[in-house]
């Protein structure tokens, strides 16, 4: 096969049996949504645009969890551990290195790398130790809670890495925002329109990249493991390696969320790895429909916006609503509310679906 046709068949994987949206209708809709997203800053106050980047920041973690849980069948309850590790790593690195010469971008890559390395080590013991099901959830949740407790007690001045004080319960602040070196003056990505577009592009790249990944041979194997790990192994696949790779990719995305969030707000706290923070991604992803990237994105965005609005009017109710939403989802639409709403339109199709 020539390299050109190899590239074409690679791009074709953007549609396939593991992703719901396909065909001209879907991509036209996708184009409209994307155009609307691109046009939004022209019609809104730049302060609001910058604030709303907040919603985008979480979507990477949600897509990562969709990959690990929805596609791979492994419920990780502790994706916030990788969020927090990358957030703190970005803080420590940038406070020490500064924001010149593109060092914040290098710090971003390093921080995501550190969270991926952490996921590799943890994942090695989990998957090569054949830990699965509810135990995987318990261990990952414990890890994030341990990290939260640990960071919460780092208030004293002795808890510093170079110039970066960890600051315990109050959290670490004052790290520089992401800064792109540019001839004629650095572009600092404060929460406004530029950051909005940069995050949107990142989101688009990750979404399309993940679509290709899940429809590739690798994606075939991870859904096979979700369906029947023993059969997958008895087809000659080393199930543990595939699970580990999936976990690392998904966790690196949680790390990316962590860095973007930290850079966006110049702030990260231990609470970002706490119980509440750890359970929210489960709600977002379950409500949308974890077994598909698009429904995960739609669901997460919708839940985040509802949650944020509720928080403004009374924070104590927001979490109760989230819990109720999860219970309703599990009882009424276990595959996700977005998928359930779409299913009347797809019923005939989904029974016959799967053809590549």
């Amino acid at each position: 096969m020539s390299s050109a046709s190899r590239f074409t068949s690679f791009l074709k994987l953007i549609e396939g049996p593991q992703t719901l949206g396909k065909g001209p209708k879907f991509w036209s809709g996708f184009g409209v949504v994307l155009l609307a997203a691109c046009a939004y800053p022209a019609f809104a106050d730049s302060y609001d645009v910058g604030n709303n980047v907040y919603f985008f920041n979480w979507l990477f973690m949600a897509m990562g969890l969709s990959l690990i849980w929805g596609y791979g069948g492994a419920l990780s309850f502790g994706q916030t551990a990788f969020f927090g590790v990358a957030g703190y790593a970005y803080g420590v690195l940038t406070i020490n290195l500064g924001d010149a010469y593109g060092l914040t971008l290098i710090s971003l890559v390093l921080a995501v790398g550190i969270s991926a390395l952490f996921a590799t080590i943890l994942g090695y013991f989990l998957f090569f130790g054949r830990i699965s099901g509810v135990f995987l959830g318990i261990v990952t949740l414990s890890v994030t809670l341990v990290l939260e407790r640990f960071m919460a007690q780092t208030a004293g001045p002795e808890w510093a890495i170079g110039k970066a004080r960890l600051n315990g319960f109050n959290g670490m602040g004052a790290m520089p925002s992401l800064t792109i070196p540019w001839p004629g003056g650095n572009i600092v990505l404060y929460p406004d329109v530029t950051l909005y577009y940069v995050t949107l592009v990142l989101l688009l790249v990750c979404y399309l990249g993940l679509r290709i990944l899940v429809n590739s041979r690798f994606g075939n194997v991870i859904v096979a493991i979700r369906e029947n790990p023993m059969r997958a192994e008895m087809l000659g696949y080393d199930v543990r390696k595939y699970q580990l790779a999936t976990f690392v990719i998904g966790s690196a995305l949680a790390g990316l969320s962590g860095v973007l969030y930290t850079s966006w707000g110049n702030y990260i706290t231990p609470a970002s790895m706490g119980m509440t923070a750890a359970s929210l991604p489960i709600v977002w992803v379950a409500v949308g429909g974890r077994s598909d990237l698009t429904t995960t994105l739609v669901g997460t965005l919708a839940v985040l916006i509802v949650f944020q609005s509720l928080t403004i009017y009374g924070s104590q109710y927001a979490l109760i609503v989230m819990g109720t939403l999860l219970v309703i989802t599990v009882l009424i639409a276990p595959r996700g509310i977005v998928i359930a709403l779409l299913s009347p339109f797809m019923r005939r199709k989904s029974k016959l679906e799967g053809e590549r």
Binding site: M1, S9, P17, R217, N220, V221, V223, A224, E227, N228, M230, R231, A232, E233, M234, L235, G236, Y237, D238, V239, K351, L352, E353, G354, E355, R356
Partner: protein, 238 residues
């Protein structure tokens, strides 16, 4: 040389010896059935061969190479394949995808579709390629799993009650499928209860009882053996 050989294979769970000093040899090209009353150790013996359980002592050789401690997927890559008793398929995926996953690691992308079509034809599932595997009838699920096992082009195919829950017609059709695979050179070892099916396919039969080899021979020899009839009625102790 035997394609599969076990030497003094032992496995016990606590005080219960489920496999006791089993010396077993399977010749290339053979269709061999393993029978025995419930609790005879047939499934455990299978799991030992596959690496799902590791033996307490003894050796397993595949094609002269020791595989006693090899991981299951390593054994598969050497040329062993298996069909489980309960259909081990990917229910939420289409028939086509089930076969793709079985084929993709050793078949070039250009001929993948051709190979899938050939298998679907063989399995009599050409009409159902887009169907979710979970929607197939029980017999079709069994066939699909046989297809996935065969897709690996194994030299040795292990089958754990391949016709469990099938109608007599389906059972007979399955027997014909397996005979065709055997004619193409595949060695088969099946655990089976259905004696009509055993008669249809087996060149050789081994009877396990209390984890030990109790009798071996052709189906006629085994059926004529009064001791074998007796253990099925519970009249002979180990």
């Amino acid at each position: 040389m035997a394609i599969l050989e076990t030497r003094q294979l032992n496995k016990h769970f606590g005080g219960l010896h489920v496999t006791g000093n089993v010396d077993f040899a399977l010749q290339p090209g053979e269709m061999h059935c393993l029978i025995g009353p419930n609790g005879a150790g047939k499934s455990t013996f299978f799991k030992l061969i596959l690496g799902e359980h590791l033996p307490d002592s003894g050796e397993i050789l595949y094609d002269g190479e020791e595989i006693t401690r090899a991981k299951p997927f390593e054994r598969i890559r050497k040329g062993i394949s298996v069909k489980f008793q309960v259909p081990g398929i990917f229910k939420e995926l289409s028939v086509q995808q089930n076969l793709t996953i079985a084929l993709q690691h050793h078949v070039a992308p250009e001929i993948l579709q051709e190979e899938i079509d050939r298998l679907l034809e063989f399995l009599k599932l050409s009409q159902d390629r887009k169907q979710l595997a979970g929607n197939l009838s029980h017999g079709q699920k069994q066939w699909l799993e046989i297809g996935m096992a065969v897709a690996l082009k194994p030299r040795l195919l292990l089958l754990d009650e391949p016709t469990a829950g099938m109608t007599p017609d389906e059972t007979f059709a399955t027997g014909e499928m397996l005979q065709e695979l055997n004619r193409e050179g595949m060695t088969l070892l099946a655990v089976e209860h259905d004696m009509a099916f055993v008669r249809q396919i087996a060149h050789q039969v081994t009877v396990l009882h209390f984890g030990k080899i109790f009798a071996q021979g052709t189906i006629d020899e085994i059926v004529a053996d009064e001791r074998v009839a007796a253990i099925y009625l519970g009249e002979v102790d180990a």
